[in-house]
Each structure stands twice: as structure tokens, then as C-alpha cells.
Amino acid sequence: MSLKQLNVFVENKKGALVEITETLASHDVNIRALSIADTEEFGILRLIVNDNETASKMLSDKGYLIKTTEVVGVKIGDAPGKLSTALAVLDKEDINVEYLYAFMARTEKHAYVVLRVADNAHAESALETAGYHMITDADINKL
């Protein structure tokens, strides 16, 4: 059910992101969404891509430290207040969100939110009970 997120350890140095994105582009990997967590010393690049397997392999071959984690992807309406309504569902269930980022669909009038929580199944069932649709890797490939 959940969504695969590719995490890449990035040292804070010039040109690091260029090399990563060029590597992905040269193997026809399309980035659907991304976020970066950064500190003074390093960054963690989180990617949702159309082909996780190829992306993982290409970046590991280049010597990058990578890890795939499962995150929750949920479809929400593209209107003011829709994100906070969805988050309220999780809050009511005492589900703590470690981080999140969102992206827009090209055609549909929807936004997608990627959520990192401790217990994916719990978050998913809470959101589904509240009427939300989850997105999976298969949906990402169709976007």
C-alpha cells in the first residue's frame, strides 16, 4: 500500500545535487517529488521517483549512501484548508508526523502529500476511515 521513498546522504559540498540529478536523468528516472533536510554538515535528499529500483542502483554504483523507506502517500483536494483537515485526522489518532512534503498532479485537481510517521499502517487506516485515498508506487508511475 505504501509508497517507496529513496533517501540519499548528501555531503554539503558544491555540485553534489547536480551530480545526483544528472545521474538520474541519464537513466530516464523522473523525479515526482523531493524534499531536502539539511544541517550544517550534511543533507538528506528524499525522492519519490517513477523507477525506484533503477535510481537506487545507479546512485549506489556511484558510491552514494542510499536507503529506501516506506512512507505514506495520500491524495488531498487542492483548496485552502485541505492539508490541515488531513493532518487533523492524524492528530486525533495521536500519530506524530516526522516530516512531510507535498506535490501537485499535472492534470487532476489534486495535491499529494507524502508523510513520514512511525506506524504507516496506523496512519493509512486512520486516513482511509476518514475517506482519503492513498497513493502507491503504481499510481506514481501513472502520474
Binding site: A37, E41, F42, Y64, L65, K67, R116
Partner: protein
């Protein structure tokens, strides 16, 4: 009550011991000169003949052997007996690319096992004990040495080798092991595993532990003693001279008695090679007095320590060595504390990291800064910043326990630490730039 394995030797008056050492040294130098061309050349170059060595007071005339000599002479260059007289080899790990292979006759093995037996008896061992040997068996000297010593004492020996902690704990409890022999870090790990299972010191029958083969601190000793409910004894040795049992601790726990009837110890200035008086801090040098197959004369261990003949409450007269804190060629003093890269390496291996690290020391104002960069692998990497910083903190805490001072740990990408000629540069001391 004090027990000894070989009372006459262990409590021999010092003058008698020196006489015994002198007799053995004269014979040993002849044996080496006649049978080891490599060392004969060194003696010839120095203009020393066996006739010049009349006793231990002449020891300083002999040339040193270093690890580089062992490498040059590999594998047979320092062998003093025909292979038909040899029954065993042991070897170092070779992690630094300098594998040492040592040869043993049956007599060499016997005397080595006697040394380990002395250590077990000094830790309170008798033939009533069950001795669990959780050092590695094989080329590494730890397992075979303590195994042989345990047999000589008459303990029921559990030849566990290292690893498989569940099985260690099962045998320890089911067969009532009373003495544990392993590396201090493995003893600490067994202790933690017992705690996770809710087992305390009263639930296991252990009373003593004999721990060595890696650097450890008094703080580690106290932790292990508390979690396992034992008295923890240090043991010292090196493959080049035999293995564990070159020196061992007694109930006083104030240094290790050197089995000096077999291993003649000196402390030298590591820079000049000059012999230093008793009580001086310097590099430890050993001369094997009884080894037949692989008799090293004046072998420089690179271990820094102090020797003492202060009277010991255990009754042993054997000279004592302080716990060596590391190798002479890479010691740093940070905030007044001695720090050796080997200690950092030990912590990394204990915590599941590869020993790919770099220590950066600098000075800000009047305080030393102490940073350790460690290469991460996929197991340690997580998708959250808090996950990575928690791992850095845990490593820093483990290092503080080992060293007594707190480093700042930074996890970095694999292969990001600069390597020169394939080997990572371990220490960058920027303080020297300011002086």
C-alpha cells in the same frame, strides 16, 4: 588465601630470578646466533658476539627487533628450529597488512599454556571451576592459549570461541560457568545481552573474568564487574612472543605480573632506544628466554607502559607492568588525556561500524577540540536528521566511556575520508600548526 600455579617461580626472590634469567639469556643468545642467520647478521653488524653476553646486565648490547624485521623475515627468517620440530603456528590478524606468523615446538606450547594457567589460578581458578573460553579459536592466540591454560589448571573447559551470544549465555547458565575468558568488549556485550534478558549478576554463576587482547579502561572494568557480578582480571600478550599470558593480573588489580622467567622485560626510550630505569614510562621490549622455535630477542612491542617491582599483596615477586594504553607511534594527548587511535577503532567495531575514521584535533582558545569523522554505511543511514544525530551521540558516548573525554562525532559518506596510498589518514593534529 593465595593460590599459585607454579609457586616457586611466581614467588622467587628477585636476585634468584635475575640469576635464572641470566643463565637462560646466555643459552638463548647462543641458540639464536647459531640458528637464525637474520639475527646473527644484526649482531655482527653491531659487533656483538654471544661471548659478550654473560648475563642480563649485557642485554642492552643486543640489537633490537621490530615489526619491520618480522615482515622482512616472513615467513621463516626468524625460525630457530627445523620445521620437523615445530608443531603449531599462530598468526596475527594482519589488519595493518603486516601479518606475523609465529612457530611453536611442543615445549613452546607447553610453556605458553603454563603462563595462561598462572593467569587462571591468579584469578581464583581451580580444578573445581568451569572455564568458558569465548576468545576466538584458530590463528588468533586468545582461544588456544586460554584453552590450554584451562586444561592445565584442570578446569572443565567450554571451548566456545567468540560469537553466537545466545549460545554463550545458554552454556554459561546450563553448565554453570564460573570463569569467562574473552575480550573486554565481548564481555561487556554479553553483560548487555544478559541485562536485556532481565538476568542480573545473581542469576549467573560467574565469579571471575580474564579479559585482554584490546585496550580497555578502568570504567569499562567496573561496568563489566557490575553487570556480570565478577572480578575482572586483565591479561596481556602478543603473538610475537607467544600469545596471552605474557603478563597477568592478580587480586590486587594494580598492574600485571610479567612471567619474567620466560619473558625478560625492558623499558626503553622509543626515540633513542636507550634503556630507562625502573618506573620510567617508555616502550616495552621483550626477550623470549625459553622460546625454541621463534625466539625473539629484544623485540620492540611499541606498547607504552611502566614497570614496577613494588611489593604485591598477592605474594608474587614477578615484576609488574602497568596496562599499556596503546602504541608508541600514535599516541595523542588531548585535553591532558592519552588517546590512541586503537581505542577509537575498538569502539567503532563494538558499535557495528567499519574502522574508517579520521580524528581531527585542534585548539580553540586554550581548549583542545576533538572531532572524529566516521564513515557511515547503509545500516546506519536513516531518512531523518534526528536519526543520524542520535547515532552520532551514541557513538560519542561510547567513545567517552572508553577514553574519558568527549569527542564530537560526525557521520560522513562512505569513502569520503581522504586516503593516501589506499590507507586512510587517521589523525590530523592541527595544533602543531599553531605552536
Amino acid at each position: 588465601m593465595q593460590n599459585y600455579y607454579q609457586k616457586e617461580i611466581e614467588t622467587m626472590p628477585v636476585e634468584e630470578m635475575k640469576q635464572l634469567q641470566s643463565e637462560k639469556l646466555v643459552k638463548q643468545v647462543k641458540h639464536v646466533y647459531e640458528n637464525v642467520p637474520y639475527y646473527r647478521d644484526l649482531m655482527d653488524k653491531k659487533g656483538v658476539t654471544p661471548d659478550d653476553i654473560k648475563g642480563i646486565d649485557d642485554l642492552h648490547k643486543l640489537p633490537f627487533l621490530t615489526k619491520a624485521d618480522l615482515r622482512d623475515a616472513y615467513p621463516y627468517g626468524l625460525l630457530a628450529k627445523p620445521l620437523s620440530d615445530c608443531v603449531r603456528i599462530q598468526s596475527t590478524s594482519g589488519t595493518t597488512g603486516r601479518r606475523v606468523v609465529a612457530f611453536y615446538t611442543q615445549n613452546d606450547v607447553d610453556l605458553w599454556e603454563d603462563c595462561c594457567a598462572r593467569a587462571i589460578v591468579a584469578a581464583g581458578g581451580t580444578n573445581e571451576d568451569v572455564c568458558q573460553v569465548a576468545y576466538g579459536y584458530g590463528l588468533f592466540t586468545g582461544g588456544p592459549g586460554l584453552n590450554g591454560g584451562s586444561h592445565k589448571v584442570g578446569c572443565l573447559t567450554l571451548p566456545m570461541s567468540s560469537g553466537n551470544t545466545e549460545r554463550q549465555i545458554q552454556f554459561m547458565t546450563d553448565l554453570s560457568a564460573t570463569i569467562l575468558c574473552c575480550t573486554p568488549s565481548y564481555a561487556a556485550y554479553i553483560g548487555e545481552t544478559l541485562q536485556e534478558k532481565g538476568l542480573g549478576p545473581d542469576d549467573i554463576p560467574l565469579k571471575a573474568g580474564i579479559f585482554g587482547a584490546e585496550p580497555w579502561t578502568e570504567e569499562m572494568r567496573r561496568n563489566i564487574e557490575n553487570t556480570l557480578g565478577i572480578k575482572a582480571y586483565d591479561i596481556y600478550g602478543l603473538t610475537e612472543t607467544s600469545g596471552p599470558g605474557v603478563a597477568f593480573e592478580c587480586s590486587e588489580q594494580t598492574g600485571m605480573h610479567i612471567n619474567e622467567d620466560h619473558f625478560l622485560a625492558e623499558i626503553i626510550d622509543p626515540d633513542t632506544g636507550e634503556v630507562l630505569p625502573e618506573g620510567s614510562k617508555g616502550e616495552l621490549v621483550f626477550t623470549s628466554l625459553d622460546k625454541e622455535a621463534f625466539p625473539l630477542l629484544r623485540y620492540r612491542t611499541r606498547d607504552i607502559c611502566v614497570l614496577s617491582r613494588k611489593k604485591c599483596s598477592c605474594g608474587r615477586t614477578l615484576i609488574k607492568m602497568a596496562k599499556p594504553m596503546g602504541r608508541s607511534d600514535d599516541m595523542m594527548i588531548i585535553r591532558g588525556v592519552n588517546v590512541f587511535p586503537s581505542q577509537i577503532e575498538t569502539v567503532l567495531l563494538n558499535e557495528g561500524y567499519q574502522p574508517n575514521y579520521q580524528i581531527v584535533v585542534d585548539r580553540k582558545g586554550n581548549t583542545d577540540t576533538f572531532d572524529v569523522n566516521v564513515e557511515m554505511n547503509a545500516d546506519q543511514f536513516t531518512d531523518t536528521v534526528s536519526g543520524v544525530t542520535a547515532k552520532e551521540k551514541a557513538l560519542a558516548n561510547a567513545m567517552k566511556t572508553m577514553l574519558g573525554i568527549n569527542p564530537a562525532v560526525h557521520l560522513v559518506a562512505p569513502k569520503s575520508i581522504v586516503r593516501s596510498e589506499g590507507k586512510a589518514v587517521r589523525v590530523i593534529d592541527k595544533r602543531k600548526l599553531h605552536d
